[in-house]
Point group: C3
Chain length 213, copies 3
């Protein structure tokens, strides 16, 4: 029984770690494209991985930050930064970018679910909780792009990213209103958000653009 629970929590931590590393890699590659040095690569990697959750914790006035409580994740991101600088070359970027789309979708799902859950836990309204879920999911990437002096890609590429997170958050709220257990809401929200994002990638869904007239 104990063994099973250990196995379960190890699995959960592994999934979280995988998703966080995917977020970090997106930062590392953008920093590399901008020809930043090792400091820039590490900072942008950390921002992409931890920026969304940290902003959520600041907005919700929650301390300690989640990365303060799980230092192992910080060490893993730091190791990834140093490994990337040592071994990654520009020719690897295209393949890496295609590969990290999948764990990145997982991260979007997990971060959205955690953001909504934490907001509801401290008594915020459903609307604000959905907003916080989306902020948790997308602001790592937004901060990454701001520091790299770019318009955030999730604001202008016309691909559903924030909207997947928003839709997942909405499902969470509806299930919570139907009095489902929190752990069940979280799982469904994370899985559905990830699924929405994967469908969006596979089907090349596009958001409507502004008309030019």
């Amino acid at each position: 029984m104990d063994n099973f629970e250990n196995w379960e929590s190890t699995l959960l931590l592994s999934i979280e770690l995988l998703a966080t590393l995917a977020f970090a890699l997106s930062g590392i590659m953008e920093a590399a494209r901008k020809r930043m040095d090792i400091v820039g690569v590490c900072v942008v990697g950390f921002l992409a991985a931890f920026g969304g959750g940290t902003l959520r914790d600041i907005l919700l006035d929650q301390r300690p930050f989640f990365w303060v409580e799980n230092e192992i994740v910080m060490w893993a991101v730091l190791a990834l930064c140093i490994l990337s600088i040592s071994f990654m070359r520009q020719k690897h970027f295209e393949l890496t970018e295609k590969t990290i789309q999948w764990p990145d979708a997982l991260g979007l799902g997990l971060f959205t679910a955690s953001g909504v859950a934490q907001s509801l836990a401290i008594g915020l309204s459903p609307t604000v909780a959905i907003l916080m879920g989306t902020i948790t999911g997308i602001f790592g990437g937004v901060l990454r792009d701001i520091v790299c002096n770019e318009i955030p890609v999730s604001f202008k590429d016309h691909r559903p990213y924030a909207l997947c997170s928003f839709a997942g958050g909405l499902v969470y709220i509806l299930m919570a209103a139907a009095e489902a257990e929190p752990w069940f809401c979280m799982t469904v929200c994370a899985v559905l958000t990830t699924l929405f994002r994967i469908l969006a990638i596979l089907n090349n869904w596009l958001l409507p653009a502004w008309r030019k007239d």
Copy 2:
């Protein structure tokens, strides 16, 4: 009597709503100019409308945020974003920009007054209170411009905007030192800041530039 008070608070909420929507519109149009998608338009609209007040609340460690307490304003901004995307075209921008200058001046006045009042209420010094009033008034626009990858327009257009807010805050402090009632200080500060800004626009006042030698 009760009817009168209701009428009064409805008027106040309407003014606030008008000002907030003017701030949001400035964000929506800048996002549109940058060809952002619907997510970018909404985020930049929200940042322009709520960024200054949220930053003030973070700096003062105040929770809940004012938009958490007045969800109606959030819904109004969201509706404005969606309406703008559906119906606004580039040919409308010039007229819209000229029109929102006036409610925007109102917003500058209201936000400045609220920032100063809230700082004094938690016991901060007059100097810091003026600073917080100005931050509340201008940082919505500053965050909007940073996300849109521009140098903040209020830092480089040589037109008095932050200075109007600063001057209004100073008047508040002087009146508070003369022991005027808070509601009276707030009203005078909001009206004067708005008036300064309107005079600056009408008279085309310019701040001194750096000499080029």
Copy 3:
């Protein structure tokens, strides 16, 4: 005895003031290069001087901010901004930039030491404390560059700046582990960080670049 203590604390305040003014000057000059107006110059000057410490205080959830407690430093930075706009011309920039390298190194040392000390004082782990020390030291410059619409110079110039701060923080932690007195850890950390930075400037040390293949 009393006289000696007064003399000591006056010296400490003078060093802090000098370092803060050096940070502010770096902001003022970058704002001037971007042709900002007086508002922009003041805001960027303040951000460069107080941004790192303020971000640290937000992350650690500490209030009041250090500049709220020492208003004299705020007034000094404001005076510096106004003096610079009145008397500084572009021909002075090169000399000023060379000159402020030294007090800037001092600021890096002092801010790093204060960041580490404050983090340990509220019970954070050594790893997080080093991180907070580095954030305190470098994020004033990072925020300055973001507002000026540049990639932060400390992320891409391949010169050790954040790394000096990181190394100094590491020394602090090692000494604290050996149970040295806090004031002694702080002094050694500040002096060593400053020294590392000065050596890096004098010897033109460079961080390794990404290989281009």
